[in-house]
Amino acid sequence: MTKTMVGNPPVSVAKASGLSPRRRAYEIGMRTLIYLAAGLVVALLIFLLSYIFYKGIPNLTWEFLTSAESVLKGVEGILPAIQNTIYVIVATLVVVLPLGVGAAIYLTEYASNHRLVTAIEYATETLAGIPSILYALVGSLIFCQTLGLGKTLIAGSMTLVIMTLPTIIRTTQESLKTVPQSYREGSLGLGAGKWHMIRTVVLPSSVDGIVTGCILAIGRIVGESAVLLYTVGMSMSMQEYFRDGLSSLMQSSGSTLTVALYVYAKERADFDLAFSVAVVLLVITLVINLAAKLVGRGLRKNER
């Protein structure tokens, strides 16, 4: 009975007719405000999407996506930016994934000192709360300057490792917590060692959470701009992985998609191209959100 009353508009309209004028005004006014606010949020997204696609699609050619810019040929292109984005994502994940998953395993499986767990969790929260411009500042100081890496892909990736670590730790920890205690007891009871138990029982059953963490981290890296602008730089030239090898690649500077957008909009005032990059970024964001949702749904199915 109460279940149908809560959250069912027709009932309250009928009820409202028997109210005093003041209460009826409150009812109608508040309801209007709620609908206005929700409508505004939806309208905002519709406006953003349609405006960006309207402005960006006309200049979004296959050539723009698949070539490097060249003044000689008069070609504009963001292929280097797309490549750099992928390189930065891969380099960051390669480092942060073992670190983050390891930290989460320590926190949920090994740690016995309550104070230490609290300290690590507090540190993780602190890292998550630090704004990206401070990461840019510290990253450019530690990696570019003190360690002498200069503005390179590797310096940027290392800074992003620190920035995305909380995301990986938190999501992995959440999914490790959902692994039933009986799995662990069963495995240990059959004579498995602790590490063997974690490797063969706990980790496989929480792989969805780790994947979700990766997707969220990728989303954060794709959307990040301040860190990349000041630790990787804004060169728009092509990287040659197959010609130069991995180490020279990581030591070169380059712009990612967000930095390319910023350069087009702010330094060159080439807004048409900036909107085209924005379309690419929005499509990536859509895909990432969708992927996170699908994996999350799989996760919930497993729990049942």
Binding site: T2, V6, G7, S12, R23, Y26, E27, R31, I34, A37, A38, L40, V41, V42, L44, L45, L48, I52, L99, G100, G102, A103, I105, Y106, Y110, I120, A123, T124, E125, T126, L127, G129, P131, I133, L134, A136, L137, V138, L141, I142, I162, L165, K194, W195, G219, G223, E224, S225, A226, L229, Y230, L261, A265, K266, F271, F275, A278, L281, L282, T285
Partner: protein, 279 residues
């Protein structure tokens, strides 16, 4: 194996210490050279002036505070009302459509918000208020308000949903209407969660750099609604790439000030979250 995992876990603490120490060590020399009072309360920031440089960041501090307050003033009511709609009023089907919309807003890169702000908001302000440049505190406030909406909505929605059903049922049984129940029973019961949402929004707004770098104009004026302004974050961002010497050190001092702001906000956030858990 345990040792290895311990190192992984401990590294988060190491990173925090590293960042804190680096910011303090590199931020203090400039403050010492300029003078703490002169640095914090000086109203003139002319870091590139060769003959008479001045490093007062009061305009930036005030801009960051005003900008954040403005964004909260606009963003919190809209976000809170949307959260009430999602948590209580909307049918599951409608909420299932709107929630992804909010997630998507959260995922859009900040430079994209900056770009749209630059192309839509800035010209609009220039024409409506007849100012020479539309790049202003007002533009930054609107962009920030939009950017903090998703976190305010999702955190307050979670808080509202956690209110025990019995509270609402009792209120309804006593004759209150649904909306009276939501605003006078559910919202007060979820108040620490909603406070956490507001504090989270403050943290987001005060730390945002790139989007407002594109719409705020980057002149260190004392803030008024329609003047070009420089935030703490954009003060760092606009000069980091070419600065050197004392100017560069001063940027790290700004970073230190910003870091202190963020740490205070973190402490506040933890207080509210803990209270929420205890409830």
């Amino acid at each position: 194996m345990q040792g290895l995992f311990f190192v992984c876990g401990f590294i988060a603490i190491v990173f925090v210490l590293l960042i804190t120490i680096y910011l303090i060590v590199s931020g203090l020399p400039a403050i010492r050279e300029i003078g703490l009072v002169e640095f914090l309360f000086g109203t003139r920031w002319e870091s590139t002036n060769k003959t008479d440089p001045a490093f007062g960041i009061l305009p930036m501090i005030l801009t960051s505070i005003y900008g954040t307050a403005g964004a909260i003033l606009i963003g919190v009511p809209i976000g809170f009302l949307t959260a009430v709609y999602l948590a209580k009023v909307a049918s599951p089907k409608v909420a299932g459509v709107i929630r992804p919309v909010v997630d998507l807003l959260a995922g859009i890169p900040s430079v994209v918000y900056g770009l749209v702000g630059m192309m839509v908001l800035v010209p609009w302000i220039r024409e409506t208020f007849h100012t020479p440049a539309g790049e202003s505190l007002l533009a930054a406030i609107v962009v920030l308000a939009i950017m903090i909406l998703p976190s305010i909505i999702s955190v307050s929605e979670t808080a509202l949903k956690a209110v025990p059903r019995e509270y609402e049922e009792a209120s309804l049984a006593l004759g209150a209407t649904e909306l009276e129940t939501y605003f006078r029973v559910s919202a007060p019961a979820a108040k620490s969660g909603i406070a956490a949402a507001v504090v989270l929004g403050v943290g987001r707004a005060i730390g945002e750099a790139m989007a407002i770098l594109m719409v705020a104009g980057n002149v260190a004026n004392m803030p008024t609604l329609l003047s070009s302004v420089k935030f703490l974050t954009t003060g760092i961002a606009s000069e980091l790439s070419y600065s050197s010497g004392l100017q560069r050190q001063a940027l790290f001092s700004i970073g230190l000030v910003l870091f202190l702001f963020i740490m205070c906000i973190n402490v506040l956030l933890n207080v509210f979250l803990k209270r929420d858990k205890e409830d």
